[in-house]
Structure formats: C-alpha cells, structure tokens
Amino acid sequence: MSQTDEEKLAEFEARIARGEKIEPGDWMPDEYRRQLIRMISQHAHSEVVGMLPEGAWITRAPNLRRKMVLLAKVQDEAGHGQYLYHAAETLGATREQMLADLLSGKAKYSSVFNYPTLTWADNAAIGLLVDGAAIKNQTMLAHCSYGPYSRAMVRICIEEGFHKKQGLEMIIRYAQGTPVQREMMQDAINRWWWPSVKMIGPHDSDSPNTPVLKRWGVKTKTNDEVRQEFINEMAPILLELGYTLPDPGLHQDENGDWRHGPIDWDEFWQVVRGNGPCNKERLAARQKAHEDGLWVREAVAAYAEKRQSVMAEG
C-alpha cells in the first residue's frame, strides 16, 4: 500500500515539527528539494567566489602572522565551498552542473563579493562585517530541517569563529592607531557597512520564498530578523571604538534595537544582476582559475590511471 502525496506531505511536515532531520533518500516535496538546491548551490558558490576579495591581499599582508591567518581563512572558505557542494549533491545536483553554472555566469552568489578590496583595512572590515553577517545567517541555517545542510552549517559556524575575531582584533588595533590608520579603517567600514547589511537579503515583504522556507524548517528566521541581530551586535561595538557608520538614519529605539535608515535596494539589485563594481572581474578570475587548473586535473587523472594499470599487472 502506498501513501498519497497528501499523506506523504503531512508526514513530512509532522517529522519536521517533531524536530527530526530530513535525510537523503527520505521523501520530500519537489519544491523543498528545488529550494534547497537553489540555496545551497548559491551558498557554495559564495564561499568559492568569496576567496577572491581577500585572496588578493595574501601576498601583500603586513607581516607573517597576518599572512598565515589570511591564508588559513581563505583556505577555510575553499573547504566551506566543498562542504556545501557535497550537501547539494545529496539532493541530486551534480558537481559538474553546479560548476558549469558558476563559470558561465548563470548561477548567483552573494552580492557582497562584487566589491573591491582597496586597502589592507578592508580585510578587517570583511572579517567583522561580512563574516559577521554570514555567521548570523549560518547560525540560523544550522537549525535547518535538511540534515546535510544543517551539518555543513554547524561545521562552518565553528570554523568561521576565528574569521570574525581576527577581523575584530584588527579593527580594535586600528582604533588605537595613528590618525591615518584610524582614517583608513573608517574608510573601509564606510564602504563595507551597507553591502554587509544588504547581503542578508531583501526585506521580508520582498522575500517571496520565506514563508514556505520557514514552514518547512529550512529557515528559522526571516531576513529582517537576522539583519536586526546583526546591526544590534555591530553598531554598538563600532561606535564605542570611535568609528561612525554611514547611515544617518541609524538610531536605537525604545526597545534597545538599533534601527537602520532606508536601504538603497536599487543598488543591491544592480549588483545582483551583474552590474556591481567587480562582477566581471570575479567571474573572469574563476574562469581563469578553472582553466589554469586543467593541467593539474589531467596530471592527477594520468597518475591514477597509471597506478591502476600497475596494480592490475602486479
């Protein structure tokens, strides 16, 4: 006897309500699978493209410690991309297709990586603000109903802890530095504040996927809720350190929440649609990395083939 789709859906939703994780092989609605593949593959691409803005500074780090820290951070982002591609594969997406979509420009990734890193202080701003915003989102997604995505998020959150703290450490140092150093940090904050606030996603009223994603336990908070947590954490600490934030409307309300002024969503959508300052550069860098890596993939394949034939003979 087989269940009808309505019965299956009811059981699926009951399982999520009980707090059980949905695992590969379990029945799931097509829309759940589709939304997860969309979210997870975009998330994976963001980790991979996210290596580029900071990666450009590895050779120009001010000292050996900062260089090792930045290398480890960028290496982590590569690893996070791998965790996430794995999670998407458990839903039936293929690595080949996801990579092809990234390299052709068809796939989306986080808008925040389409801005340039102009000075060393940008790495500090990215660590605290961009990784800080990502961690807020990822901490929420760690409670996701889909087992492989939730486990990838738990692993990523554990590892991202140092990414944010190394950024905050630099921001504190700059606050104690010379006027020129403080000015450099302030400039980086001015440029990274809004992209970080926006990367959390459109307002709930413009986020048509959110209700179904919440119902199925994929998201447990809305974009605006996550954004509020982010601003509540970041605004007081940056203001205390003597920096300003580029939002004249920013204020604390009677509940203690830090409220932001109007967000320029036109600018956000321009960047999402491919017209940000670095979209073309990022895509070209990924394509070049893929082409430049071809000889490595060929060498690895040749070695594996040779080894197999030696073993077959032996």
Partner: protein, 185 residues
C-alpha cells in the same frame, strides 16, 4: 571530455583514538588514495583527527527509516544465499540523534552474503531499541583507511595552526584595554 569532477567518495572521520568513525561529508577524486588526501585537506583542518576512511559512493547501500517501514521483504534471497559471506561494515544514524555534526556512525561488522542480508543481520545484531533513521552498509574491501603509522605527520597541520582557533584572538581583553585607555585620556 577530460574535464570531469571524478567519482564521489564518502568520508568517515575519527577525531580521537577509541572514538567511532562518523560520516563527515564527501570529496571527489580519481582514486581512493587521492580521495584520502582531499578528505584530510577538507575535513581535518582542525581541531584534530586520528583516522579517516574513504568509500566510493557506488559501494554504499543506504536505507532510510521510511524505506524500511514501507518495504516488503522477500522471504528468501535465494541468489544471495548461495554467495559466500563477506564482511560488511555497518553505519547508522539514530532517528532522534541530537548530534549536530555527525551523520551515520560506525556501528560494527557483520558477515553476510549481500548488502540486504547484512542490513537484516545488523537490524537484529545491533538492535538496542533505539529507532534508526539511516542505515549504511559497506563491504569492508571498499574501505580505504589512512595509515596508522602516519597519524603524526598526516594530521599534524590540524593541531599546529593555533591561529585557526577563535580563542587565539584576545578581543575581549583588547576591548577592555581600549576602554581603559579611553577612560584615562
């Protein structure tokens, strides 16, 4: 086209001696040796790792709780019964597992004529009353294990890079220090 991403290998990781291997995720590689290297780089950057196993996805038989509820078992696997038994490694994930980082965990071995036979045996042999969400059955010949002789060098990078840990950054103390200097000024 030569530009493929290669087969997928599931990765099982043991953090410390004496603990059970658990499934951490997967990597792509042309063979098991390269899969093990990729697995080390992807899953054992920190905080520690003692052993890893990799298994090509094609060698894994998996069943979910739902599949087992709906399944009608054949009375007798006649073809399977003729085959000589071989060892299978059994992995499972508990239905109400509160473990947020680990998928299926190594449970033990059985000798069986087929993956289905191994599953049937495992459901009896490892029945401790806990409902199981996912079973994985893997013939032990398909498992490639990291070399116990090389634990020290193979996993050393996970331990040595302390700046990968959040507590390497004394931001709380630095903030406190900043507040003091502001107060004094």
């Amino acid at each position: 086209m030569s530009d493929t991403q290669w087969p997928r290998f599931e990765v099982f990781q043991q953090d410390k001696p004496g603990q059970l291997h658990y499934n951490a995720g997967s990597v792509h590689a042309p063979d098991a040796e390269m899969a093990l290297l990729n697995a080390r780089d992807v899953f054992a950057r920190r905080p520690r790792c003692h052993s890893m196993w990799v298994v090509p996805v094609s060698a894994i038989s998996a069943w979910t709780y739902q599949e087992l509820v709906e399944r009608v078992w054949a009375a007798d696997g006649s073809g399977a019964a003729a085959a000589s038994p071989q060892p299978y490694a059994i992995f499972r994930k508990e239905l109400n597992s509160r473990n947020t980082l680990e998928h299926v965990i190594y449970t033990g071995e059985v000798a069986a004529a087929s993956p289905e036979d191994a599953l049937q045996q495992a459901r009896t042999a490892f029945d401790d009353g806990v409902p199981v969400a996912v079973w994985w059955v893997v013939p032990t010949w398909a498992i490639t294990r990291s070399d116990p002789e090389e634990v020290g060098s193979f996993y050393e990078p996970a331990l040595s890079k302390q700046y990968r840990q959040p507590n390497h950054y004394h931001t709380r103390a630095a903030l406190e220090h900043f507040r003091q200097t502001v107060k004094e000024a």
